[in-house]
């Protein structure tokens, strides 16, 4: 009682102004010790001397309008983008029907955004994915419903990049699951095949597979049969990604409790039922975050098809840069596509981190 009275009489002492609010935060986080102070000053000066000139180059001295004369200003020449963005983004796709790829990409992006929320994950979403992929294919390829047919060889730019990564992953995932199951199998012959395949593919760079698809694969086919370069590269990317998916899925399978297998056996499920109903639904859930990382690297790796001469986003940019009019503006063009790649990968990796947190049940 006495204590209470005492407290009431006393004025509440506030913490010193230097340890709360903005000042306190700055002191705590930037100048907590002499060493930290020196580091902060060094970093600020480095940022100051690199960012200010960069901003001046990129924003103030730059020219933005298409076909303006860049070489006279000292800054960045974003006209290289504004004059050529159609070629860079869509390659040699006929320019009068660009609404088709744009609609397809819009469809894909909106589906991806809807799929971000796990509450919508149900059979309906699965079917809409399948239907939308078919619609996208029809939109891009044409030839039915009065749409003008566009040869696959002419798909380029971001369409090709998305095609290779989206279809690459969709096809690689089931294959990867099969490989992972094969690797865990008790049958020695099947296990050996799977281990051999996975280790072989993971041991070599993607380039060697792409080389194989472009120069060796045609030799495998009977005389007179030929498959176009994009499909061959797509097969190489699928084969490559599947091996990585297999390792990710194997991690999930190994993480399963042995009791799950035994329980499934004891209620009389056969192998297929055990896997389909008991094991895979749980194992695949565990491996969603690492699968997204595989997706990110698959997306980045599609840029390697430049080396075998396919016109993906990187190659269309380079072909623009080889035009004498735009020669010497590589930095601007590369920064532009770097931003495209960065935005896509950033959203994916952010999403993977978010999922990891959501799925982490603390067990």
């Amino acid at each position: 009682m006495e204590l209470h009275a005492k407290n009431e009489n006393k004025e509440i002492i506030k913490p010193p102004i230097s340890s709360v609010g903005v000042l306190g935060w700055i002191r705590e986080n930037l100048f907590s010790s002499p060493f930290n102070t020196i580091l902060t000053i060094i970093i600020i000066s480095i940022l100051w001397f690199s960012i200010i000139p960069f901003l001046k180059w990129a924003l103030i001295d730059s020219c933005w309008l298409p076909d303006s004369n860049c070489r006279e200003t000292g800054g960045a020449c974003w006209s290289v983008i504004s004059s050529n963005y159609k070629i860079i983004l869509f390659g040699f796709y006929p320019q009068n029907i660009l609404w088709r790829p744009i609609t397809a990409i819009f469809l894909l992006v909106s589906l991806l955004i809807i799929s971000r929320n796990r509450n919508y994950w149900n059979a309906f979403l699965g079917y809409s994915w399948i239907i939308s992929l078919v619609i996208m294919g029809i939109l891009l390829k044409g030839g039915v419903l009065g749409l003008e047919s566009v040869d696959i060889e002419r798909w380029g730019g971001i369409i090709l990049t998305l095609l290779l990564s989206v279809f690459g992953l969709t096809a690689a995932y089931p294959l990867g699951i099969l490989l992972a199951l094969g690797r865990q199998s008790k049958m020695p012959v099947i296990k050996t095949f799977c281990v051999f395949y996975i280790e072989l593919i993971r041991g070599v760079p993607l380039i060697s597979l792409l080389f194989m698809s472009s120069v060796v694969f045609p030799l495998f086919l009977p005389e007179g049969v030929s498959i176009n370069g994009i499909l061959r590269a797509q097969v190489a990317i699928i084969m490559f990604t599947a091996a990585y998916i297999a390792e990710v899925v194997r991690g999930g399978l190994q993480g399963m409790n042995k009791g799950q297998f035994e329980a499934a056996d004891s209620i009389g499920l056969n192998y297929l039922q055990t896997m389909r109903l008991i094991i895979l639904p749980q194992a695949l859930k565990i491996v969603i975050p690492p699968s997204v990382s595989v997706l990110i690297s698959a997306f980045k790796d599609t840029s390697l098809v430049v080396i075998i001469g396919l016109y993906d986003l990187l190659k269309t940019t380079q072909s623009t840069l080889s035009d004498p009019k735009w020669m010497g503006f590589s930095a601007e063009a590369y920064i532009f596509i770097a931003i495209i790649y960065f935005v896509c990968c950033f959203f994916m990796s952010n999403y993977s981190r978010k999922l990891e947190k959501e799925l982490d049940t603390g067990l």
Partner: protein, 394 residues
């Protein structure tokens, strides 16, 4: 008893319901399918090769290569054989991977530690770096740096020179090196001897500490030895101080050591990209060590340096090394992208050989074998390391 029951059961179940027999059927089926596909592909290939009259086998390795290679660690001319050309490419791959790995570990650890800094600004800069460089394809980064060297840097005449003897221009990075002198060879040998001496010194010091408890300042002694031995050599060799300084002659520099734009761009791209991943590995490793470990170590009176060396690092390294090795392997595999910017690594040389001879299968096989050797030796090292480092449970 159990066996008897099993026998009885197996007599009663039909062939298809016996998992053992069924699995044999599956396996034979898989093997047959594989054999059929292999036979089909090989026979197709054989007819195709015959039709296009392409030679088979590795006999082409002994033919004259007839192409020049831009940079080489060993003597090479277009008159040499394919085998030697491929060897040049292999050495170039090793060179760029080796230097790349060294620089990546240094930069990556630095950024990983910065990511854990209590200083907000440093922390966020490191986080920004990691996010930025991880999310841009490495090939794009290589192209960017290549364009940087070729387009943005001035010609040799207006080369940037931060200090005398170092020039940065579109012909690469050129800097002065000491004039060749026999004493440098002996200095290199002296360094190797110093390393061997340090190895035994460390063993002896540990033994003495185990026996008597008296520590020996191994670290400082090592530094003195590794600097002292070559220095004594240099003094005995007559202190040569001549430098080969690059001088502008005509359109290019003469003298000094030139790092070509291709090599510099490749190295820069690979190091900056992989360092972002290494930084994450290092951060995770350091965070994996429980804070209680530091507190306990301090409580028993270890100095900060000892806490780091004896308590934190051994535990953090156990977590760091496995993903770190796989990043190093990734760097080596990504060095194959050199082909895109024209650095003559193994893949690039093999690609040229494929174009000239048409022997695609052998060429691609060679590429795969070389990288498989890298990755198999890495995984052998990993197994050895995991065994050595496995926590010995009580």
């Amino acid at each position: 008893m159990n066996k008897a029951i099993n026998n009885k059961i197996s007599e009663n179940i039909s062939f298809w319901y016996d998992p053992d027999k069924r699995s044999i059927v599956y396996q034979i089926g898989a093997a047959c399918l594989f054999a059929f596909v292999a036979w089909y592909l090989v026979s197709n290939t054989m007819t195709n090769l015959e039709r296009q009259s392409i030679a088979t086998g590795f006999g082409f390795l002994n033919n004259e290569a007839a192409f020049e290679i831009g940079e080489s660690l060993i003597e090479y001319s277009a008159a040499d054989r394919y085998a030697r050309a491929l060897w040049v490419g292999f050495l170039n791959t090793l060179l760029v991977s080796f230097i790349g790995v060294l620089l990546t570990v240094m930069l990556g650890s630095f950024i990983g530690v910065a990511r854990l800094s209590k200083n907000w600004l440093i922390n966020k800069c490191a986080a920004g770096y990691i996010e930025l460089f991880q999310d841009i394809p490495v090939l794009l980064q290589l192209f960017f740096w290549y364009a940087f060297f070729y387009e943005m840097l001035p010609s040799p005449k207006e080369a940037l020179s931060p200090f005398n003897g170092l020039f940065l221009c579109n012909r690469g990075l050129i800097f002065g090196i000491p004039q060749t002198h026999p004493v440098y060879k002996y200095m290199a040998i002296a360094v190797i001897i110093a390393v061997i001496v340090i190895f035994f010194l460390k063993k002896w010091a540990k033994k003495r500490q185990d026996l008597t408890g008296r520590p020996f300042p191994v670290f400082f002694t090592s530094i003195i030895l590794i600097i002292g031995f070559p220095f004594v050599c240099w003094l005995l060799g007559g202190t040569p101080t001549d430098m080969s300084v690059p001088v502008l002659k005509g359109f290019n520099f003469k003298g000094g050591l030139t790092i070509s734009p291709e090599f510099a761009a490749l190295l820069l791209g690979l190091v900056l990209y992989t360092a972002a991943f290494v930084a994450e590995v290092v951060r995770a490793g350091i965070q994996s060590v429980n804070r209680g470990q530091t507190e306990a170590a301090m409580a028993i009176g270890l100095k900060p340096g000892q806490v780091l060396n004896l308590i934190i690092l051994p535990q953090a390294l156990r977590v760091i090394i496995p993903p770190l090795t796989s990043q190093m392997l990734n760097l080596t595999k990504n060095s194959s992208l050199a082909v895109a910017i024209g650095y003559p690594d193994f893949v690039s040389v093999a690609g040229t050989a494929i174009n000239q001879t048409g022997q695609a299968i052998e060429g691609v096989m060679l590429i795969m074998i070389v990288y498989l050797i890298f990755s198999l030796s890495t995984s052998a090292f990993m197994n050895w390391y995991n065994k050595k480092m496995a926590i010995v449970e009580r």
